[in-house]
Symmetry: C2
Subunit: 194 residues, 2 copies
């Protein structure tokens, strides 16, 4: 609808800006995400930046969507390649990355920012839908209700571990925690003890 008359050069700079925004967010946090830093990192002028993103929040949201799309792609690819058995490991690896934790900064900030909240919701829902099927394969036969508990708990666990990882780094413990969750639902993890 809006990308209809978008030119190739524009797409390239847009990409540069988004990549730079992610880079800044990862390096300086959400609080340190400023237009100045983004335009410098992207090698782009203020005019170009504001032309593509008319407000800071718009840029922030676009940046999160950007990484979310990349992560969704990674996950999908991993499932296609290795099957659902390795899904958990991939999810754990992805959610441990600074980009994901940076995204969580936006997530919690959305508590007091309705527009941000509205912008973030679709991505979160989509991830849930994307995981439903491979998780079902992983865990065998489960009624819908139990599956929802399993999936939601898994994602919550991953989020909580990602937050926890900021203050301490204990990957082996995290793997044990995940294995326990899977075990509770009769699924085997491929997570070897670290």
């Amino acid at each position: 609808m809006e990308a209809a008359r978008r030119q190739s050069r524009a797409l390239r700079t847009r990409e540069q800006i988004l990549a730079a925004a992610v880079e800044v967010m990862v390096g300086h946090g959400y609080a340190g995400l400023t237009m100045q830093r983004v335009q410098t990192a992207a090698g782009v002028t203020r005019g170009a930046l504001t032309h593509h993103f008319s407000s800071m929040r718009e840029l922030a949201v676009a940046a999160v969507d950007y990484v979310a799309a990349a992560q969704a792609g990674e996950i999908e690819a991993a499932v296609a390649d290795a099957g659902p058995a390795e899904l958990i490991e991939v999810l754990h690896e992805v959610t441990r990355r600074p980009t994901y934790v940076a995204g969580l900064e936006l997530w919690v900030a959305a508590r007091t920012d309705p527009e941000l909240r509205a912008a973030l919701r679709p991505g979160a829902r989509q991830l849930g839908r994307q995981l439903r099927e491979p998780l079902l394969l992983l865990v065998g036969d489960l009624d819908d209700e139990r599956l929802e508990v399993f999936a939601d708990g898994l994602l919550s666990l991953l989020r909580g571990l990602a937050v926890g990882g900021v203050l301490r780094d204990r990957p082996a413990l995290e793997k044990a925690v995940l294995a326990a969750w899977l075990g509770a639902f009769g699924a085997q993890a491929t997570t070897g003890a670290g």
Copy 2:
């Protein structure tokens, strides 16, 4: 060491400032925590504010310690009153509160702020220690390693649910998730289905 020669009036205003800081953080988020707002909410001048907290981060950290202490007190009281059986419910209730989620904003922001990280670590460790004993009572006999997995997983789960609660509100699902975690370790929850 520093509270030695502190006068009673000073303690009162310090309390006002901290309460106001929490109020502002809850209402406007970490990004919206400004000295202007705090001094207005506290009914205190800039001079008083800076006299007690010489930097913004110092105030933020003190505010988080302030709520952490209050929460620790609540948890301890709940355990003393109702026993470890209701511990989970209390923890869930506490971590669902806006004050806790606001604290998580600081937590994730600490990723790119070493001083903040250093300031937050003690509180997190202390909570873990505080919960070890009642959780052990709750779950029966468990070797140290399994207990650590149980406790860390529980806290991670609660954190993740708290973050998730920003975008959606499904308390019943959350309770089911927690019940599943407890069940995996042979503990019974008192959580009735909502």
